[in-house]
């Protein structure tokens, strides 16, 4: 009983310490969990457990062999202790999350966050996995959505299911955007990924709703090595939402996901991410999630478009570059990003725009905010190949520093190999000035609200790209994160 009480009042960091996987804590290995370590046998076992077709096993083995020859990259502007890849269990059957009886059992810190974000009560219950009445049960919500999607022919399912049901679609596109040997973590992911989402939008279809990951998996823990593949066929459109504003905890420290997007002629994918993983102890920076993700989209067909919007507010280390390969003629790539770091967080994020087709356009808007002891880097590549005539790019990356212990960096790479391009790159660094705050305060607006207003103004260009509800939550999330950082 005493134990239960203390867990109710535990702070987030204490909860995290408890949920963090303690090596040797669990000695009895149940039949559905593979022992720690990575070898060819482990890769084969994962494939066998998922009952995958032969091509998938070959794909995984090839990736694993490639991975063995690769070195862990050291170039990013982030620092972390070396990861022991043999000390990870690469397969564990999905387990249902622990059901809670009522909101009283939920960590009060979490509830406070929900309240600040303005999440409705039923939604709060769903997010914290409290049993809810039938009407709001996430499973039923998901079923309703699924039915509606199937009516127009959209496939939206776990990738493991897609491998059983639509193996030819997966085989055609998997690994075409992020090749297995693309980078160290992508190779690892290709060898051992266990789940993720698969979306196929048939030709001439506008998705009737925004697809969101939390319709798909809510009762199970998300995997450590997620794989997402979205294919948007001719003349189609889809908007996909990943993550949510609520704080996310996970027992796995390393997250190495791969996301691949493909657009055919005249298609458009809009991919929005709000990421708020546990960032580690704010004082010491210990225990946070490492978010090492490879996200890339390929505008394969002419006149197609891929748009990335991301709001990164969590994880001890965020290291990702959602990219666009503009292969078709007249294709467009967009990247909108807000990356906020506080505590001891580190972020090295940005994008890559590779112009290959004719008349390709890309725009990049990146806003970095660093506070406390954090470090925030924008790293972006704009590359125009020789054949990419009339390519256009506009890049703007702004940084804001809050406090004198943090740092902000910009590393843009601009490479051009033909003379019909127009590229512009602009960047600035600033802080919230005392004059701005004074102006607000003399008009009777509290310092806290003034800061919120300034920061939201700073990020406005990105927020307006987010779907409405997300945008509102994201704004509140930033305010919440910056509490106590300023003034």
């Amino acid at each position: 009983m005493a134990d239960e009480n203390s867990s109710k009042t535990a702070s987030v960091s204490q909860v995290m310490e408890k949920t963090e996987y303690k090596y040797g804590f669990k000695t009895d290995i149940d039949s559905d969990t593979l022992p720690k370590g990575l070898s060819e046998d482990v890769v084969r076992a994962i494939s066998a457990k998922k009952n995958e077709p032969q091509f998938m096993l070959d794909f995984r083995l090839k990736a694993y062999r490639k991975w063995l020859t690769m070195k862990e990259p050291a170039w990013p502007n982030v620092h972390y202790p070396k990861i022991d890849f043999q000390n990870i269990s690469y397969y564990s059957a999905p387990k249902p999350k622990k059901k809670l009886e009522s909101l009283d059992e939920v960590d009060p810190e979490l509830l406070r966050t929900f309240e600040k974000l303005g999440i409705p009560l039923d939604e709060q219950k769903r997010l914290s996995n409290v049993a809810v009445d039938a009407v709001f049960d996430s499973v039923s919500v998901a079923t309703t959505h699924k039915k509606k999607l199937m009516e127009v022919g959209i496939i939206f399912c776990p990738i493991s299911e897609a491998l059983q049901e639509y193996p030819e679609l997966v085989e055609e596109y998997l690994g075409t955007v992020v090749p297995i040997g693309d980078n160290f973590y992508a190779a690892l992911n290709s060898a051992v990924f266990t789940d993720g989402s698969f979306v196929y939008i048939p030709p001439d279809t506008i998705s009737p709703m925004e697809l969101s990951t939390y319709f798909r998996i809510n009762t199970e823990e998300t995997g450590q090595f997620e794989r997402t593949l979205i294919i948007c066929a001719e003349n189609s459109y889809v908007s996909y939402l990943e993550g949510c504003t609520a704080p996310q905890f996970d027992t796995n420290q390393l997250h190495a996901a791969v996301v691949e997007l493909v657009t055919l002629d005249n298609a458009e994918i809009k991919y929005s991410t709000v990421q708020n993983w546990y960032a580690g102890d704010p004082e010491t920076g210990k225990g946070g999630i490492y978010n090492f993700v490879t996200k890339r989209g390929k505008c394969l067909g002419d006149n197609s478009k891929i748009s990335w919007t991301q709001v990164e507010t969590g994880s001890a280390i965020t290291w990702k570059y959602p990219s666009c390969i503009l292969q078709g003629d007249n294709t467009q790539g967009e990247f909108y990003s807000v990356a906020l770091t506080n505590g001891h967080m580190q972020a090295d994020t940005g994008t890559k725009m590779i112009h290959i087709g004719k008349n390709t356009k890309s725009s990049i808007i990146s806003k970095g905010i660093s506070a406390d002891h954090s470090s925030n880097s924008y790293r972006g590549l704009v590359k125009v190949n020789k054949g990419a005539v009339n390519a256009r790019n506009y890049t703007q990356c702004d940084s804001m520093l809050v406090g004198d212990q943090c740092s902000a960096h910009t590393f843009p790479y601009i490479e051009t190999a033909n003379n019909s391009v127009q590229l512009e790159h602009e960047a600035s660094t600033s802080k919230i000035s005392e004059e701005q705050l004074f102006y607000f305060e003399q008009r009777g607006i509290s310092r806290e609200n003034a800061i919120t207003a300034v920061i939201n103004g700073f990020c406005k260009e990105v927020f307006k790209q987010l779907p409405m509800e997300f945008a509102v939550e994201a704004q509140k999330l930033l305010t919440l994160k910056l509490e106590n950082s300023v003034g």
Binding site: W75, K386, S399, L401, V402, G403, D404, Q405, C406, S407, A408, H409, T410, F411, P412, Y413, I414, E415, T416, A417, N418, N419, S420, V421, Q422, L423, E424, H425, E426, A427, S428, T429, S430, K431
Partner: protein, 441 residues
């Protein structure tokens, strides 16, 4: 890199070590510099020749350079008339001539500068603790393999030592002449240390020129700028088209010191300028600009690191590159604002004009900021001649060729015209702008 390429670089590294052994045993080496020579070659062994995966050389392919076997250049004979013709009229009595890195008293004329201008060999100057420390300290953290090689082979460098409060009416031209040979490729390692005492002022015009193609200049320049002192350094690189030119400029600017550095490069097989500038104390000020016009397969690369180490420092950078044919240009510039360097003001702008389908331009303007009360901006543009501007000029009756020439010329001219030395401006008209006229004629 393929296996054979790795072997090739390795064999080149062995060749350099052998050349160094020969150098240390020969007459050229000077005893007081021996410890620096040895430290330099040690650093070289550690750093090794670069390849494309080295972040510092992402945009620069040094493979051909590293793969060429060089002999150390001697102080070979040089045509006096040829040298005279390259001395700027305004610097007739303030010129120091160097042949393959070695100071030539008979060709130089420093009579117009008076007693406060002191120039001496580094082998004599190393008795000065500050100079010795500058040479050794810089090696310990040296990250540029070519600069390490310069130290390894250093034997005829000079120190220009300006006492406090000294000023000069005329600029000092430093004419570096390189002479290639008809047999094999040769390399020279010019070394210059400039030290300015408090409140002193100096204007220097380093000019690099060569007689025949097959040579490499590997220059290192150190500037120590004391409190309130100011240096205006306008560098002209007009080496032979078949040569290589690598340089490193290291600068320490103290309280309220100023450096106005401009470089203009005509390009060759490979030119790479590396700047490492430390704004060490409050009020230090830097202006750095670069202009280049490239044709054929010429290359010019700039690699810049500016360290803002104290509050209230200012740095301004402006680069303008015109790239034609298969030319290649890159600017990789980083401004680092250290913790506590509040009220820093830093701007960086790189403009590229691409005139051909096969031209190549790489840019990387970086900012690393560890302080919150700063103003830092950077910008890059890559583009071609504006169609509207071209149309406007054509409606005024200018031919297409003339209109294009006018627009491209004015693009670089806006930078060249800011150079306060008419002789240099005239020289640059000759070596840079002529290239454009030839192109549009």
């Amino acid at each position: 890199m393929s296996g054979s390429a790795v072997e090739k670089t390795e064999s080149q590294e062995t060749a350099v070590l052998a050349l160094h052994k020969k150098f240390l045993g020969g007459e050229q080496a000077k005893a007081p510099l021996r410890s620096i020579n040895e430290a330099g070659i040690k650093r070289f062994e550690l750093l090794k020749f670069p390849h494309k995966k080295h972040e510092m050389y992402t945009f620069v392919n040094t493979h051909e350079l590293a793969g060429t076997s060089f002999e150390l250049a001697g102080e070979g004979p040089v045509d006096t008339a040829w040298v005279q013709s390259r001395i700027y009229p305004a610097c007739k009595h303030s010129v120091a001539v160097f042949v393959n890195g070695a100071f030539q008293a008979n060709l130089s004329d420093l009579s117009g500068l008076g007693d406060s201008f002191k120039i001496q060999c580094l082998s004599d100057a190393v008795v000065d603790d500050e100079i010795k420390q500058t040479l050794i300290d810089s090696l310990e953290e040296e990250n540029d393999v070519f600069a390490a090689l310069n130290s390894a082979f250093m034997h005829h460098g000079v120190l220009i030592d300006i006492p406090a409060k000294a000023t000069f009416d005329v600029p000092v031209q430093l004419l570096y002449v390189s002479t290639g040979t008809s047999s094999g490729a040769v390399v020279s390692h010019p070394r210059l240390v400039v030290r300015l005492g408090e409140m002193a002022e100096l204007k220097v015009l380093p000019v690099y020129a060569g007689t025949r193609g097959n040579y490499c200049v590997n220059a290192v320049n150190d500037f120590i700028i004391k409190d309130g002192a100011g240096v205006t350094c306008t560098q002209v690189q007009k080496d032979d088209a078949e040569s290589w030119h690598v340089s490193k400029t290291r600068v320490q600017v103290h309280r309220d010191g100023r450096l106005f550095a401009r470089n203009a490069s005509s390009g060759n097989r490979l030119t790479r300028h590396h700047y490492e500038i430390h704004l060490k104390e409050e009020g230090a000020e830097l202006l750095l600009s670069g202009a280049t016009v490239l044709v054929h397969q010429e290359q010019v690369h700039n690699f810049i690191r500016i360290h803002h180490e104290a509050p209230h420092c200012t740095s301004e950078q402006l680069f303008k590159n015109v790239i034609n044919d298969k030319g290649r240009s890159s600017v990789d510039g980083t401004v680092i604002v250290n913790k506590g360097a509040q009220l820093t003001n830093s701007n960086q702008l790189i403009n590229n004009l691409m005139l051909s389908d096969e031209a190549h331009s790489d840019n990387k303007p970086n900012l690393m900021i560890f302080a919150d009360d700063v103003k830092c901006t950077h910008g890059t543009t890559v583009g071609q001649i504006d169609e509207d501007q071209l149309f406007y000029l054509k409606t005024r009756g200018l031919s297409e060729a003339l209109a294009k020439s006018l627009l491209t010329t004015s693009f670089v001219n806006s930078l060249i015209q800011t150079i306060p030395f008419p002789d240099v401006v005239a020289d640059l008209n000759e070596i840079l702008l002529k290239k454009l006229e030839a192109k549009h004629a």
